[in-house]
């Protein structure tokens, strides 16, 4: 097998190595093309990772359901009736829809994201106050800086504890003051702080100025009875959120005598849609990068072909001598072709190494994703393999041009005395 012929490779590397400057100039185009391709792909991946980081801690396959006002009269009820859920709905839904993995009921002291005044030592904060189950943490993860989140014991014993946001802390406490164990007052009831969370650039449904207390405590302290304001629901990974969303709405519509066609009575938000949109965005971005990169690569490989064409002309005499000494057209063709492939492959690797270096510098500068969505920009191994194979494939096609030109050189013409 000629591919493993040591002499052939020695001959090729010898030829390339003895003409360093020419070799280097030839490679430049592909080096730059590879750098551009890898940087584009890496940046696209970095953005994709950045978006993923933003959504880290939010279950992608989740939805939120709350009550609004009816827009259709039905069964004797007028339009504009406020829908208020009961805590028993959570159990009904969980029982009837097995695809629901987690269902976290929530109740608010005011309506969603409206604020109540929270007091401590003469300081006040306008915060949202939520009665929650610990399961909510499985759907929207809180980044705790201190202490812990609500747990089952808090629920079981209706403990008067709370978890506060960093904004709330800043308003209620002195700088550096310890919050854990301190009491804050909401509507005349004192709650002991057990945890504090900080804003984390993620999707933040609850805001940063919020106080979380156990759902059961909320019921007793604020006399909310069996009311429930809001549900956060995570569905099984392989189930479409929209399907479960419809089931939930159908059950709730039947229970609360809502017109089946009434779209406004039940508010809901499908988290997976956002994820899908962003996935589509990053996929398009990656595809575009690949597209641009491949054409840049094509340009680079054509440059190699071009320079090889020039070198073939320059090497007319050499090729003529080789032919006169017994090199068959096949040998000459193979040599030029392999020179093209080796050049391209080597240039590609050099470009790859350089661009990986640049990407890691970019990563160390902006890779934390604090300022904009850009995390760990790097190309994946399949992306690398695909671009590398494509490049080598192109170089074979394009190397045929100078190779055929070299074969057309007739020794008699090459050796003709000037």
């Amino acid at each position: 097998m000629w591919l493993f012929d040591r002499d052939l490779w020695i001959e090729i590397f010898h030829t390339l190595g003895k003409n360093m400057f020419r070799t280097f100039l030839t490679m430049l185009g592909v080096i730059f093309a590879m750098i551009i391709l890898v940087l584009l792909l890496g940046s696209a991946n970095g953005m994709s990772n950045g978006f993923n980081k933003i959504f880290a801690g939010t279950a992608s396959n989740s939805l939120f359901v709350w009550g609004q006002s009816t827009s259709e009269p039905y069964k004797g009820f007028e339009r504009g009736r406020r829908i208020r859920y009961k805590i028993e709905d959570a159990e009904i839904l969980k029982r009837q829809i097995p695809e629901i993995e987690v269902l976290a009921p929530r109740i608010e002291l005011a309506s969603h994201r409206e604020i109540v005044t929270v007091y401590r030592n003469g300081r006040t904060s306008g915060s949202a106050v939520y009665g929650d189950y610990p399961e909510i943490d499985n759907i929207t993860k809180k980044k705790l800086v201190e202490g812990r989140f609500l747990n089952q014991t808090d629920i079981d014993h209706s403990k008067k504890v709370c978890v506060i946001g960093e904004e709330t802390y800043k308003l209620l406490f002195e700088k550096g003051e310890k919050a854990i164990g301190q009491d804050i007052r909401i509507n005349g009831v004192y709650f002991s702080v057990v945890g504090m969370y900080k804003p984390n650039n993620n999707i933040n449904i609850d805001g940063e100025n919020a106080v979380f207390i156990p759902f059961t405590t909320f019921q007793k302290a604020f006399n909310s009875g069996d009311r429930m304001g809001w549900m956060a629901i995570a569905v099984e990974p392989n189930t479409k959120v929209a399907v479960v969303e419809k089931q939930i709405k159908d059950i709730l519509k039947a229970k609360y005598d809502i017109h089946p066609k009434d779209e406004r009575a039940i508010g809901s938000f499908d988290m997976s849609e956002i994820f899908n949109n962003i996935n589509a965005f990053t996929t398009v971005l990656q595809g575009f990068s690949f597209f641009v990169g491949i054409f840049t690569l094509l340009a680079g490989v054509i440059a190699i072909s071009n320079i090889l064409l020039i070198t073939v002309k320059e090497r007319t005499q050499e090729i003529g001598v080789r032919r006169a000494l017994g090199a068959t057209p096949k040998i000459v063709k193979r040599q030029i072709l392999l020179e093209a492939i080796v050049l391209t492959a080597f240039a590609g690797l050099v470009g790859f190494a350089i661009s990986v270096g640049i990407l890691s510098i970019m990563n160390s500068m902006w890779g934390s994703g604090e300022d904009f969505p850009f995390v760990n920009p790097m190309i994946s191994i399949p992306q690398f393999i695909i671009s590398f194979l494509l490049m080598v494939g192109l170089s074979v096609l394009i190397g045929l041009l100078p190779a055929n030109r070299a074969v057309k050189i007739r020794p008699i013409e090459a050796l003709r005395e000037e």
């Binding site: 002499d7 017994g326 007739r410 050796l415």
Partner: protein, 233 residues
């Protein structure tokens, strides 16, 4: 060794056709040292090209070592050239980025001789032309005479049936020319068949036979008393 019968060759120059070789009959025995002479345009280079299988004849027969040379494919021609012929050119035609040794080893590479054997053989021939100490030098580091000696070593390395020299001294001063001719004579003494194309009388007289070409025909073919180049060196 070489037999040519009624060889014709013409070149197309636009609408005109230039009849260069007009029926050449010619025979070379083994161990001969033949000078092919003629002014420019006499057809001597064309004849050498055809003998060297670098060009094909229009009509006529050409037999080399009892092998008919006709309608060769490029690949076949390359293989025959490698097997039968050694070339020595006026402008040496060494590959400038290869050392003297690598240049000499090149025909052996195309014969698929293993690397080690190739190096040894190339060194042997380089030694024979007296350039063993220069083996690692690039052609640019050698004098004209040295370059031509490397080229001669290269032509001999493949152990061809016939050496074809196209104005081997054309680019050299007379002293170096005689050195090169001395070498060619010695190679011929060992029994190698050599054809030298030249237009210099003194060089031609260092061969054993002179073939005169004029306007595409052989006008004179005579055996001569060889002048040894040794005495001028």
């Amino acid at each position: 060794m070489i037999e040519i019968k009624d060889l014709h060759k013409s070149y197309k120059m636009g609408s005109n056709s230039l009849h260069v070789l007009k029926g050449i009959n010619f025979k070379v025995e083994e161990g001969e040292l033949v000078a092919i002479m003629g002014s420019s345009g006499s057809g001597k280079s064309t004849l050498l090209n055809i003998l060297g299988m670098l060009d094909g004849a229009d009509s006529g027969e050409y037999t080399l070592d009892n092998v008919p040379i006709k309608n060769l494919s490029e690949t076949k021609a390359a293989q025959y050239r490698n097997k039968f012929l050694g070339f020595i050119f006026q402008s040496f035609n060494l590959i400038n980025y290869k050392s003297a040794l690598e240049n000499v080893a090149l025909p052996l590479y195309y014969q698929k001789v293993p690397r080690k054997e190739r190096q040894e053989k190339a060194m042997k021939y380089l030694d024979r032309v007296g350039l063993k100490p220069w083996a690692a030098h690039l052609p640019s580091e050698l004098s004209g005479g040295q370059k031509q000696r490397v080229a001669i070593a290269r032509a001999m390395a493949a152990e061809p049936k016939v050496l074809l020299a196209d104005e081997p001294t054309g680019a050299l001063d007379s002293k170096t020319s005689y050195e090169v001719m001395d070498l060619i004579q010695k190679i011929n003494d060992d029994g190698n068949t050599i054809l030298v194309v030249t237009h210099e009388e003194d060089i031609a007289h260092m061969c054993k036979r002179i073939v005169h070409l004029k306007d595409g025909v052989i006008v004179e073919d005579k055996k001569i008393e060889q002048v040894r180049a040794e005495q001028y060196v």
